[in-house]
Point group: C2
Chain length 179, copies 2
Amino acid sequence: MKRIAFLLLAVATLAGVGAYMANASGQSAGESSPIYGVKIPAGYREWKVIAVANLLIPGKVDQVRAQVGNDIAYEAFQKGTLPFPDGSIIAAIHWNRVPSEYNDKVLADAFPGAQSFVVSSRMNVQFMVKDSKKYAETGGWGFADFTGEKPGDKALHETCFPCHIPAKDRDFVFTHYAP
Amino acid sequence: MKRIAFLLLAVATLAGVGAYMANASGQSAGESSPIYGVKIPAGYREWKVIAVANLLIPGKVDQVRAQVGNDIAYEAFQKGTLPFPDGSIIAAIHWNRVPSEYNDKVLADAFPGAQSFVVSSRMNVQFMVKDSKKYAETGGWGFADFTGEKPGDKALHETCFPCHIPAKDRDFVFTHYAP
């Protein structure tokens, strides 16, 4: 996708922002995502695993990730239901990854060259919340990106939906259920 | 750890095998692990995530993994409780990993060189079941390794406990809770 397309989509997304801001009343600053007004859902860390993944960007990102879902989202993933029903929430937990010297040492005899990578620390967590009416202009999804308890800024959240556009035929969701 | 130590431990483990075999009555062949008599626990795929990881062995293994736990195990991981209480069950789900050309294409503009890896298929799943009396001779843990519904053979299961010995100070568990 060309960069100009990204920018155009960002502008289009911004045009729909006013309505959500107006609805995002009664929520403390620093707790809800800009544009979408999404808060960290209670208990998401204990949701069911949809899939796991890596994202590696040389010199920048070295992550192992888990996508987890609330019961509505999890069932939709399992059954392949599209579009996702309202109430679906997907959380993508991104952890920084490090080689485990401890594990590599244990494996060395049986598996020479083995490389074990494990979680070092949490980087961020992203949410997609399905509400086909509230978020009609962004494919029915509200987005959020938190580092610790702190949501990213508006500029960051302007990139969420445009980046998900290519997955339109899967209701804007990249992740597949891992059997 | 030297290979000889592995072998000695395997022999030591074998010496304790008889008792478990005798207890493993009434369980269908092909459904319980040899030595330990551990069956696939119902609903484990929906247990809570303890951590995620990679294991890479050039030309042999290219995996992304999730360790999940039942409620007893999960709570122990969170609180750092050692030893794990009886009733704890840990499942390690191992998926084969592939690069996602689809995701890489989407990321190409914003993040040149990005490499996204996702799950392709299930390789196997391993279980550790804590029962300090039943499995007293293997650190209180019973082990199992299933590919699909089929448990691995006895020789494979003879390697489980010896490999976990180095993690003795963490009750034979390598995985740490990912915050």
